[in-house]
């Protein structure tokens, strides 16, 4: 299978303090990969390095054969990378509609506006509550609505590679479950590769195809989601259930 994303030997950190050590990763199109690990394991750092917010000290990141190292965040967005950050990143001072519009503003040239409008319409179809709150400001939304907005805004870009940092954090279980189910639908419909960081190991592995377990900045286990879930030793050592 040809991979969408290939990461090799990735090392990164903050200042002189290394956090990620020699991380390898392969994502196929149309798959969800769960990134699991304890607090401080380096999950967010991995996502920030992949989207370009953080410069790696070594390693290779290939997206459909294109080297991303050295490209700034904005260029990676144009190549199809969308990162929904920890805490969601909904801009509270902007309206729902403006937040969504922002998700497509990287598009250039003729037809850009039309494509973004179409993508926004799809997001409104997907998330009914957002459609009813177009003019609301981000800070007027509930936690679940914000998550819909953050995810919807990333989808407006129609990304090839979607990075999600703890999308279910702070959500009621039923809302979290519906977001997870939606990810599955999106994966099947769009063919994008999703890298999903989740604290909720059960629900993440339930929808993921693959999983990687990160500990102290290293990948300590990887495999089919179902296998990881069944691996009792692993569960005890790293996943705490």
């Amino acid at each position: 299978m040809t991979e969408l994303l290939e990461v090799e030997g990735l090392c990164a950190g903050y200042g002189a303090a290394p956090v990620l050590h020699d991380v390898d990763l392969r994502l196929a199109p149309g798959t969800i990969t769960a990134v699991l690990g304890a607090n401080g394991a380096g999950k967010t750092t991995l996502l920030r390095t992949l989207s370009g917010l953080l410069r790696p000290s070594a390693g290779r990141i290939d997206l459909t054969g294109r080297d991303l190292i050295g490209l700034p965040v904005e260029r990676r967005v144009m190549l199809g990378v969308a990162h929904v950050p920890e805490g969601r990143g909904v801009i509270g001072e902007l309206t729902v509609q403006e937040n969504l519009r922002l998700g497509g503003l990287w598009r250039k040239g003729a037809g850009a506006r039309r494509e973004t409008d179409a993508a926004i319409a799809e997001v409104y179809d997907l998330f009914e509550p957002l459609a009813r709150r177009r003019g609301y400001h981000g800070h007027q939304l509930s936690g679940g609505e914000r998550q819909m907005l953050a995810l919807g805004r990333a989808l407006v870009a129609r990304p090839k590679f979607l990075l999600l940092d703890e999308p279910s954090l702070g959500l009621a279980p039923v809302v979290a479950a519906s977001i997870m189910a939606l990810l599955r639908t999106l994966r099947d419909a769009s063919g994008m590769a999703v890298l999903l960081v989740e604290q909720n190991v059960h629900s993440a592995l339930a929808i993921a195809d693959e999983g990687v377990v990160v500990s102290l900045g290293r990948v300590v286990a990887r495999g089919k989601a179902a296998d990881l879930q069944a691996d009792e030793g692993l569960r005890h050592a790293y996943l705490g259930f």
């Binding site: 990143g89 801009i91 509270g92 001072e93 922002l102 503003l105 990287w106």
Partner: protein, 292 residues
Amino acid sequence: MSRFIFLTFNGLSFGAVYAALALALVLIWRTTRVLNFAQGAMAVATAYVALSVSDWTGSYWIGFGAALAAGFVLGAVVERVAFRGADRMPPLNTIVIGVGLLILIEAVMGMLYGSANRGFPAAYSTRAYSVGSTALFSKQDVFTVGSVLVLMLVIAVLLTRTPQGLRMRAAAFAPEVARLLGVRVGRLLTLGWALSGLVGALAAMLVIPTGLGLFPQAMDGVFILGFTGAVVGGLESPVGAVVGGVLTGLALSYASGYIGSDITPLAALVLLVVVLLLRPTGLFSGSQVRRV
């Protein structure tokens, strides 16, 4: 009553200038957390550009346009050269840079043009129209208020109705999120500084002819009043800056008209203290704007 009307028009005219300066300060503050102490000096520099260009071309309006263009360019250059990365600097550093720049610009102007006060003509007559014996406002006052109003409308439309404005607001509110959505935040910061420089230039071109005259420190006092307006308005909000600037103009006009012109600087202080006592974050800073 007639005096009140005159003082009101006078206050609005000066208020428009303070509003412009306040807006210039706020455009930068909200994106980079820099309080640009060199704003006034930069604006004076553009007025010198107007002077030179008008001399060469013999046209007042070409000089006027050159000042606005120079303000735009100067704002961008100052950001690139002096304040790049300022949002990550400790506040004290940006203050030191700003004050250093203020001294530098005023010194360079002094070397190039001398420190003498040069007369600078107003675009229109500064003689007030009167009805009966009541002096109202001059053509220059109308031009001042009108041009500030037009520029503010243009900026408001830019910020709220265009893709570039949406990018600018996103970059100001949440730079990292904006980058994740493909916004080139660095460029937009430069654009914000450039706009700010242009607005400051307009303020200088309007206020210098009305009694101040042109000399390197011409805007030092006006800067303080623009700053007062910005703080009264809450520093965060462009609308607040405009309202704060106009309030400052009116307060000063009434104070100097009814109490005496010696009191003017004190009136600004009183306004500042009263507003900050009632609303410590300024009139328009937002309890309604919660950061996410």
